[in-house]
Assembly symmetry: C2
Homo-oligomer: 353 residues x 2
């Protein structure tokens, strides 16, 4: 029987609760599909600071690199916000992404018919929407040098090289081939040199994908179009900071941030995590929504472990549970039949599997 | 009788049509309020390229600087998009902003009760929304150096100095004093050094405005919150590129981009323009909506010429015309009684004055 080694980072806040449910679901589907999973837990974020004094211990880096994939909860919290910058949970996260080489952050935004009222956008604007945002994750202004703040003047550098743009563009075009075959690249080429190189390179890569339609949009317009008519998009590919902003905007199309998974992939390993944060305000109350994390686990099965059938089973179980009116507290006002706590939602999804 | 010298830049596409209507309305209100306006026209953008070979003639720079304020239509069009970067209409626009020293771009996003259905957002989410986005306009990554694209590697620099942040923060706090007394500053201080200086400086400036509530939001969250619950905002202050993205997002709250004015102000002069572009596809058809430009003229009366009464009269005339069901083509599907062309809408607003 096939076995996969999964590294687990539960992190802070609601992290432990939601990851626990995802593991429960993973085990259920593994049994059904005849494979096994072994888990090893590692520290990161606030809990790592509290336990070993740094946000990203070497052991975590080593352990995750050796695993087949990493399932990640969430990190951070007010408690650590006043620490010096190099000791903050966010610094750990960025350095983790860089060390794992996960250059492609995939954020699907899919509107479920059952929850079409959960968005602040009109149902007719979002119904049937299915967008994949592909964000470059280990380059751009997040990592660009030089960077400095001397208290009077401060600056950062938004930088990309052609190979960096090529590999993320290829990821986007490959994904589009399996979807609606349309890639919209977002930049600010009317103002930025770095965006001009981005646009030129995307156009070059596009030549190898003649069956995929490529278009370009300025970032201000893209933000607007995501709100005005999100259904026009299939795959969106963009740089690190624009992707940070646009993927959050796209999440609002779906409405409920508790439903949104993500995958960060590269050549060495892959990290799967919900896009919501550690929500310290509701940690420990048992009311967190585990679905985004469970969907992240489903993405892991599909994209890294090639267990597509198992992935589909999880997705279907979630859809069915939602269709039958099972909701966590965050979704209670949208046609709920029964409101479940975090553990009960995990159990319910296992039932449907 | 008081006289004001107004420089006029009609620009490209629908620019000439909409500016003509705004001048008509300005003259009507001036008559009513006992002042006069003299106009001088200058070239910029595509028409300047076609006529004198550069997007921003020296004469325009000189003329606008000598005027009390500038009323601006729109520039650009596909025709000039393939020119070398330094000859493009956009380059002219950025250099114009810099030479005019207009560091503060004010973009109000006000939802009219009459058009509460025009947005892709649910009416209950936007009803009563009144946001002022204050965008820094002549700094940040738009103008930062070094900047380069050698075809393999390209970069831009996002830079701010403390005095640059101080003056835009002051503008935001002063505006908040006349509104709901809340300023939300948007940055990415958890990642960028330049944002940390931004945040620290805004906090320092805030000390001089104890009656104004200050808050901070990361740009990804702000984009999300603008879609989720825009009514939470009063004044938003942010840097050039974040402001570019967020003000376009905010415009979608209102829904109709044909209604949104803007002011760009500084110590030397001020430029008033609609936020929509030159819309070459509908130029000359007479169907453009002149309201955003007319509202820009109203902002000019209020913010630069201190003719607040005249400004209020224009705003009320527009509201009344909308209330009575007069619409341009872009708004025809929202409770229209009569659909007017561009000229007729200008005439109608003059009637209400
Ligand atoms: C926490 C922060 C550094 C991070 C980012 O900006 O990448 C977050 O917003 C995200 O999108 O994962
Ligand atoms: C045309 C472009 C350079 C400009 C900008 O990015 O500032 C426009 O988007 C705007 O917001 O006025």
């Amino acid at each position: 029987m096939k076995n996969y080694n999964i590294s687990i980072i539960k992190g802070d806040g609601i992290g432990p609760e939601i990851v626990t449910e995802a593991i429960k679901v993973l085990n259920a589907v593994a049994k059904k599909c005849d494979f096994t999973l072994s888990y090893k837990e590692y520290l990161m974020g606030g809990i790592a600071i509290d336990t070993v004094g740094v946000p990203l211990p070497d052991e975590t880096v080593k352990g995750v690199l050796e695993s087949d994939a990493c399932l990640f909860g969430a990190i951070g919290g007010e408690k650590w916000d006043t620490l010096p910058r190099d000791l903050r949970p966010e610094t750990g996260l960025l350095s983790f992404r860089e060390k794992m080489g996960v250059f492609a952050n995939l954020r699907p935004a899919i509107v479920y018919d059952e929850l079409v009222n959960a968005s602040s956008l009109k149902p007719e604007v979002i119904k049937g929407c299915d967008i994949m945002v592909v964000r470059e994750l280990i380059g751009g202004i997040y990592f660009g040098k030089p960077r400095e703040n001397d208290g009077f003047k401060a600056y950062n550098t938004m930088v990309y090289t052609k190979p960096e743009i090529e590999r993320i563009a290829k990821t986007a075009f490959e994904l589009a081939l399996k979807r609606d075959k349309r890639v919209c690249s977002v930049d600010k080429a009317n103002v930025l040199e770095v965006s001009q190189l981005w646009r030129d390179t995307v156009n070059e890569v596009a030549k190898s994908y003649p069956s995929v339609e490529v278009s370009h949009m300025y970032v201000d317009n893209a933000a607007m179009q995501l709100v005005r008519n999100p259904k026009q998009f299939d795959v969106i590919v963009t740089g690190n900071i624009f992707g940070d902003i646009l993927s959050d905007t796209a999440s609002m199309v779906v409405g409920s941030i508790g439903l949104l998974p993500s995958a960060s992939t590269g050549e060495k390993t892959a990290i799967y995590e919900p896009i919501h944060g550690s929500a310290p305000d509701i940690a420990g109350l048992g009311i967190a929504n585990p679905i985004a994390t469970i969907l992240s686990a489903a993405m892991m099965l599909k994209y890294t472990l090639n267990e597509e059938k198992a992935s589909d089973i999880i997705e279907k179980a979630i859809k069915d549970a939602l269709k039958d009116g099972y909701r966590t507290k965050d979704l209670a006002s949208f046609d709920a039949k029964e409101v479940l706590n975090c553990t009960a939602m995990g159990d319910k999804i296992v039932e449907y599997i």
